[in-house]
Amino acid sequence: MEGLNGMNAGWSERLRRNGFGWGLVLPSLLFLCLFTYYPMFKSFWLSFYEKNLATPEPLFVGFDNYINLLHDNVFMKVFSNNIWFAIGTVPTSLALAFLMALFADKAIKGRGLARLSFFYPNMIPMIAVANIWLFLYTPHFGLFARLASWITDQPVNLLGTPDTVMGALVIMMIWKEAGYFMIFYLAGMQQIPKDLYEAAAVSGVGTFTAIRRITIPLTMPTTLFVAVVAITNSFKLVDHLWIMTKGGPNNASNLLLYYIYESTFNFYDQGMAASMTVIMIVLLLLISSLQFFGWDRKIHYE
């Protein structure tokens, strides 16, 4: 009798505990399902259907949307653009962020000012950044055009030329993001024990060698983390295209997410938009999983 009661009490305690736990998680879980999982599965489902202005009722087409994407020159262009955009922005902003952090960490006078000037682009909305740089890049009146007019007499239209537009946007993005990544390097550098540098200085190791042998290896985990964030961002940040180029000229600056936006709201091709969303999801999951599996540990113990 005694034991049965105890068991009952155990069960009811367990039931209460489970109810409590689930009750606490439930609100978050509800929104998570509604705005992460349901949309994800919906995209997945819709990516196997044709649904556009001509076929308002979804028509099952299997993998056709994906095959069509492979033959869609614009999609291939946009995809390769995005990869070039990542290659252009990620390594440079990481390297700059590292240098900025070194400077903002060590320089004694004006350290606050340096941090401020490197970080402030992050507090400005991307859309405002786009306005600022659109102005800087404007032919005739813009800062760059004025600088260029000293060198060449030709009117310079950086955003209107397919060859230069991507470069111009890459530079802008580096300006916007490097200071943000600097923050993580600052945090990483502060965790390196100071006596390592003192020991290095005592044994006559120069500053640059110390950076190469101590700072760079010990901030490797930061580099991995920041690299994942930076690559993810290069697929995510598209607000500037809306203001600056609309993906043009001739899709030279178009990126994946913006193309999804165009397909949905300008071309009303939902099947295609869905399959591109799925590709994007898979891509992002792959990139972020670098962080979670293996890589982290390997780099740390190198």
């Binding site: 409590f20 509604l34 992050n122 507090m123 102005f135 995510k236 997410l257 999801i281």
Partner: protein, 302 residues
């Protein structure tokens, strides 16, 4: 000692000359380091200057009379006319209120949902906890920005397009916040819990009276990151809203810039850009340390 070597015995004098020699080497090392440092500072501040110029250029253009703005010469004239003209030219007051409302409500709801979930993940043993935790992880890897197309459809199904609630809904649960807070909750000593329970406090009581107050720094960090994200967000509010009364600052700015583009009214666009960026920028200047510290401790945005 080296000041007056003559007073010293011969042996010591020899030693001291050796010391002098060392001192000379050390001095030359010091000069070298000094030069290095000056160079380092010069490069660092040159960078900082490059980073600050775009913003200064916009500020300058916002405050000088229109006809001089596009002139190639330099001028010291100064006017508030652009700002006043822009403020009256579009309902920026309304946009500002909307943005404040959206940021405020999103943050308030996030704080509640994330506190509950974080406590459950940190301190309650319940069935399916690990699996749920994995499910939460995915939201960090695939943020709502990427799902704009499908989230738009979800909102459409719910009949919430062109509402402020529609802008906010996808962000009501933040996995990122849950992770951040869970970490902080886990670091609190378990004895606090037990002591309070002996006193007869309920778990919700313990959560609100002990866990929440002790994690204040994390809440502040999260608030800064969340507000700056939603203040600056553009594409999602653009898609969701159609009417002026539901627009946010960023969307208002984009519409305004688009409308004036034809006339190349750069002084107006710069003034509008300044209006939109100013609140966060001022906050950032005032609380620089906390802001940078928050980004440092919190990791990812959103």
């Amino acid at each position: 000692m080296e000041d007056n070597p003559l007073k010293l015995p011969l042996v010591l004098r020899q030693n001291s000359s050796k010391a002098l020699e060392e001192e000379r080497i050390l001095n030359s090392g010091r000069t070298k380091r000094r030069i290095q440092q000056i160079l380092w500072h010069a490069v660092g501040f040159a960078f900082a200057a490059v980073w600050i110029i775009p913003f200064l250029w916009v500020v300058r253009t916002a405050f000088i009379p229109k006809d001089i703005a596009i002139d190639s010469g330099w001028s010291w004239s100064f006017t508030f006319e652009n700002l006043i003209h822009v403020w009256n030219g579009a309902p920026f007051g309304q946009f500002l209120m909307n943005t404040l409302l959206v940021c405020g409500v999103v943050l308030a709801v996030q704080l509640v949902t994330m506190t509950m979930a974080a406590y459950a993940f940190a301190r309650v043993r319940f069935f399916g906890k690990d699996l749920l935790f994995m499910l939460f992880l995915v939201q960090i890897m695939v943020p709502p920005d990427v799902l704009i197309f499908s989230n738009y459809q979800v909102l459409n199904e719910m009949g919430l397009l062109d509402t402020k609630l529609g802008i906010m809904l996808p962000y009501f649960a933040s996995s990122f916040g849950v992770f951040l807070l869970r970490q902080s909750f886990k670091q609190l000593p378990y004895e606090l819990d037990e002591a309070a329970r002996v006193e007869g406090a309920s778990r919700l009581h313990i959560l609100s009276r002990i866990y929440v107050p002790l994690s204040r720094p994390i809440y502040v960090s999260f608030a800064i990151v969340s507000v700056s994200f939603h203040w600056n967000d553009f594409l999602w509010p653009l898609i969701v809203t159609n009417s002026e009364e539901n627009r946010l600052l960023t969307v208002g700015l984009a519409m305004f810039a688009k409308a004036t583009e034809a006339g190349a009214q750069w002084s107006d666009v710069c003034a509008a850009t300044l209006i939109v960026s100013a609140p966060l920028m001022i906050g950032f200047f005032l609380f620089q340390r906390q802001v940078i510290g928050s980004f440092m401790s919190s990791g990812i945005k959103g």
